[in-house]
Every structure is written in structure tokens, then in C-alpha cells.
């Protein structure tokens, strides 16, 4: 098999909030087309790690690369990392789509307007082209029949599918999912996971913070178990979920499975 350069590289990423250290030196590679599931108890740092990848959180130390870009910083002649301007960070973010636990759709815009907003305002795509692309994406997540509805008129599962289409509208190389099904009623989880499974099969590189062990087992290429700001165990789903080596992983899995 050909040697693949990782799309995402994290090198010794650290992050503290006040006196609490949330990430204690994370190293991680994600290959193109891989689906990485981040699992672990709440407070273990999974979401913070995910949010460092598109600079929604500013790491205190370490480097995050997506493709060739050092996210959020540039190394200057003085050998230090200087934070980039908001404009440059936004250029980097166009390659990274994100889906939130609480959807965060724009409530005053229709489904279609939600999806075309960023392509039109950021990429300066014409309304016609953006709309055509949006209809394609909405069909892909099974929501095109609701293009003119407002988010409040949709179920949670439908809103999250629209949020996925919105994240895809910028044609990202990487999709981040922050507990995408945690805010959903149990009967609505399946439809969102189905869309994500389809996306994974189409070859999208995905990092998914999740509590859905079934999804991790079936869809993930790699699973990372986090505890106390560290990656405690990392491997294929069969390794991490099927035959965990660490006590902490075993104890966590015995509670959630």
C-alpha cells in the first residue's frame, strides 16, 4: 500500500483553562479518508481537542497541521509562533467543516439560506451556483424537501442533517463532528448516523467525538480513547473496543456498552 501523508497532524498540543489543564500533550495523525472516533468520559478533553483543530480554541502549546497549514499560527524569524490574523485563520477554516452538538443553525434563515450563506459571503459564489450546490447537498442528507423551512420547524435529527449539509457547502477536506447525536431523542439518532456513514463511505476524512460505540465499531478506521487530557489508547475499533489493553479503557467501556 502506498505511503500516505497524514491530512491532520497534532504535535504535543496542550491547552489549559485557568488552572485546569484540559489537554496534556496530544500527538495524533489522521490519514486522508480516515474516520477517527474520539471517545472518553465527559471532561476528558475530547471536545477541546476537536475545537483546537479549527482554532475555535487556541492551543497553549504544540502544533496543529491540516494539510500543509499550521493552524492558527505562523513561525516567524524569531523562532516563535505568532497567532495569525482572523482573516488568515478564516482562510484555513474554509477547508474544515464542523458540526455541533446543538446544531447551531441560524434560526432566522431558511434551511437553504443556512447552507448558501458561507459559500456566498466567504467564497463569493453567485447565488445561483450556491443554490444549485445547496440543493445537491440537501438531497444527499435527505432534506431537500425542507429547503424553505425554518430550523425551528424541523426535528432535531433533521436540523442536524441540515447542519451537516451546511458544513459540506464549503467543500472541506476535513469534517469535525462534536457529539453530533448527543442532543437528539433516541429515535432520531439513526438518521444522523446514516448520513455520517454515507459521508465516510464517500471518502471524507472525519474526526468524530461520540458516545455511539456502535457507530465507532462499524464506521471508524481508528478509535482514540481519551482520559484526563491524554490519549490513553489508540488503534482500530477491533483493538480499542474489542480488546482494550488499558484498565481505564476497559472500565470506561464496561460503563457505556
Amino acid at each position: 500500500m502506498a505511503h500516505l501523508e497524514p491530512l491532520v497532524r497534532l504535535r504535543h498540543v496542550e491547552k489549559s483553562f485557568g488552572d485546569t489543564t484540559v489537554l496534556k500533550g496530544i500527538d495524533l495523525d489522521v490519514l486522508p479518508g480516515e474516520v477517527l472516533c474520539l471517545i472518553g468520559a465527559s471532561g476528558s478533553g475530547k471536545s477541546t481537542l476537536l475545537r483546537c483543530i479549527n482554532h475555535l480554541e487556541r492551543p497553549d502549546r504544540g502544533r496543529v497541521y491540516v494539510g500543509d497549514h499550521l493552524i492558527g499560527y505562523e513561525e516567524r524569524a524569531d523562532g516563535r509562533l505568532h497567532e495569525l490574523s482572523r482573516r488568515r485563520i478564516n482562510e484555513q477554516r474554509t477547508e474544515i467543516g464542523m458540526v455541533f452538538q446543538h446544531f447551531n443553525l441560524f434560526p432566522h434563515m431558511t434551511v437553504l439560506e443556512n447552507v448558501i450563506e458561507a459559500p456566498m459571503r466567504v467564497r463569493r459564489v453567485s447565488r445561483g451556483v450556491a443554490t444549485a450546490t445547496a440543493h445537491d447537498l440537501l438531497s444527499r442528507v435527505g432534506m431537500n424537501h425542507k429547503a424553505d423551512a425554518y430550523p425551528k420547524q424541523l426535528s432535531g435529527g433533521q436540523q442536524q442533517r441540515v447542519a451537516i449539509a451546511r458544513g459540506l457547502a464549503m467543500r472541506p477536506r476535513l469534517m469535525l463532528f462534536d457529539e453530533p447525536t448527543s442532543a437528539l431523542d433516541p429515535e432520531l439518532v439513526g438518521e444522523v448516523l446514516d448520513v455520517m456513514r454515507g459521508l465516510a463511505e464517500s471518502g471524507m476524512t472525519m474526526i468524530v467525538v461520540t458516545h455511539e460505540m456502535g457507530f465507532a465499531r462499524e464506521v471508524a478506521s481508528k478509535v482514540a480513547f481519551m482520559a484526563d487530557g491524554r490519549i490513553v489508547e489508540y488503534g482500530t475499533p477491533a483493538e480499542v473496543l474489542g480488546n482494550p489493553q488499558q484498565d481505564r479503557t476497559r472500565s470506561f467501556l464496561s460503563k457505556v456498552l
Binding site: N90, H108, K152
Partner: protein, 301 residues
């Protein structure tokens, strides 16, 4: 104990409890309303004929025009300044947020009437108004008395005072928008300015508009305090008339009629604006059914 009947449950007839208290209330209100109407019609001191004479008097209409102009300019300036103050108040910098806080504290904490008189007499405090480097050279200066007319004093007083109130209203509107909204905009690479204009502000306006409409109505009415610095707005124009003719009550009725007309128009505009901004915020469009007046009388829900 429940009584056992042979009648099947689907044949039951349900009688709601009579609302006796509500009928008493209705009777009292009708009585008072009848009393007020009868006074309007039978008491000659209202001098309705005089009211009719002055309703479209050019002096009254010019006063009305001044009131509208004062309210409009005052409100626009106050909105701009209020927005700046609200953004300052939300700034991470202690100095910026503290300065805005001080402004609000001062202008909200002193009566607008006092502020107006102070502005009008600014020349006593600062005889010459100049622009330059503090403690350094002066670049430009002007005699304060030439700048402060009743109009500039009125506009300064009303808008600076109103800005303090609007700053708080705008700030609470902006903070009412969920943080997830600006995070989503960030993740979509939307710039801060665009996100504020397209995503945060339209949602904040839902919270900002109703109290701001209230403030506009308030400003319209308390702009009448500028009569103390002899600016002929609606009330002062009326006062100038009845000071000569002693037709105090009918002229004041004319003034009230015009205030009510403008406030009614503003209220209609406000409702239209609220409906527009409410788009997307209700799960389903609830159609309001037309009601028979007999139903409205006792149950308007």
C-alpha cells in the same frame, strides 16, 4: 363518592363553571366608560369647537413637525452612540467597558431636564470650544455660544441621555444571542463583521426592537421638556397659544390628540417590524381566527 349513572360516558354534557367575577368586572368597566363618554359629550368646558379650530393650526403643525424632527434626529444619534457604547461595554478591555459603564451611570443617573439646562448653558462652563492635543496646542476653536442654540442643546441633551438607555438595551440584545451562533459562523470562516451583521444582529434585534420602540415613544413625549429652553415643539407651541387666549384645556387636548396619533402610527410600525423579525422563531404560523364580539367580551384567548 361517584354517582353511578346508566348513561354512557359519550353522552355526558360538560358545563364550565360560571365566571361570576368576570361579569362583575365587565359591568364596572362599562359603567366607567359610559361615565367618561357622557362627560365628553355633555360637559361644555371641553370646548370641542375650539379643539377643532386649533387641530390644524399652522403653529400647532409646525410644533408637531419640530417634535418629530427632534425625536428622529435624537433617536438616530442615540442608536449610533448606543451601539458603540454597547460594543465597548462587551469589550474584554476593562478600560473600554468601564468607560462605557461610566457613561451609562452618569447619563442615566441625572435627570434629562438638568442635562438640557446644562447643555444650554455650556458657554458658562466652557466659553470656547476647541479641538487640539490635551495640554498641548490648539488646532481649531469656536465660540461655544455660536454653536449652542436651542436646537443643538436639545439634540445633545436628548440623544446623549437616550444613548445611555439604548446602550443597555442593545447590550442585552447582543448577549441574548447564543454563543453557538458566533461559533458556527467562525467554523464556517465567516468574518467577524459579516457574522455580526448577518447572523448576530438580526437575532439580537428581536430582543432590541420592542424596548427601543418603547424608548422612541418615550423620547417623543419627553422631548416636550425642551420647552424649557424655548424650542417651539408641540407642547410649547400649544403653550404659546393658550398663554394669550386662556383656552388651556382645548389646546392641551389638541396637543394630546397629536401625540396619540403619532404614537399610534409608531405602534403599528413596531408591530410590523416585530412580525418581520420574528420570522423563523415560531414553530408554526398560528393563524388568528376572527372572533365574534360576544365571545371577545368574555374570553379573548
Amino acid at each position: 363518592m361517584t354517582a353511578v349513572t346508566s348513561r354512557p360516558a359519550e353522552a355526558d354534557i360538560i358545563v364550565p363553571r360560571p365566571r361570576r367575577g368576570r361579569w362583575v368586572g365587565i359591568a364596572v368597566v362599562i359603567l366607567i366608560a359610559a361615565g367618561v363618554v357622557s362627560s365628553f359629550v355633555t360637559n361644555p368646558n371641553y370646548q370641542w369647537g375650539v379643539v377643532g379650530e386649533y387641530l390644524f393650526d399652522p403653529r400647532i403643525l409646525s410644533g408637531l413637525g419640530n417634535t418629530l424632527l427632534l425625536t428622529a434626529i435624537g433617536m438616530v444619534l442615540a442608536l449610533v452612540l448606543g451601539l458603540v457604547l454597547a460594543v465597548m461595554r462587551l469589550s474584554a478591555s476593562g478600560l473600554l467597558s468601564g468607560a462605557a459603564g461610566f457613561y451609562v451611570w452618569f447619563f442615566r443617573g441625572t435627570p434629562v431636564l438638568v442635562q438640557l439646562i446644562l447643555w444650554y448653558n455650556l458657554a458658562i462652563l466652557i466659553p470656547e470650544f476647541s479641538i487640539g492635543i490635551p495640554f498641548g496646542p490648539t488646532l481649531w476653536s469656536v465660540d461655544t455660544n455660536a454653536v449652542i442654540t436651542p436646537w443643538t442643546a436639545a439634540i445633545l441633551g436628548l440623544s446623549l441621555n437616550e444613548a445611555a438607555y439604548l446602550a443597555e438595551i442593545i447590550r442585552s440584545g447582543i448577549t441574548s444571542v447564543d454563543r453557538g451562533q458566533s461559533e458556527a459562523a467562525d467554523a464556517l470562516a465567516i468574518s467577524r463583521g459579516t457574522a455580526f451583521r448577518r447572523i448576530i444582529l438580526p437575532q439580537a434585534l428581536r430582543v432590541i426592537v420592542p424596548p427601543t420602540a418603547n424608548e422612541t415613544i418615550g423620547l417623543l413625549k419627553y422631548s416636550s421638556v425642551v420647552s424649557v429652553i424655548a424650542l417651539p415643539e408641540l407642547l410649547y407651541s400649544g403653550q404659546l397659544i393658550y398663554a394669550r387666549t386662556y383656552e388651556t384645556i382645548p389646546v392641551l387636548i389638541v396637543v394630546c390628540i397629536w401625540y396619540l396619533v403619532v404614537v399610534t402610527i409608531l405602534t403599528v410600525l413596531e408591530h410590523a417590524l416585530e412580525r418581520r423579525l420574528g420570522v423563523g422563531f415560531q414553530a408554526s404560523a398560528s393563524a388568528t381566527r376572527p372572533r365574534r364580539w360576544s365571545r371577545w367580551l368574555i374570553s379573548n384567548r
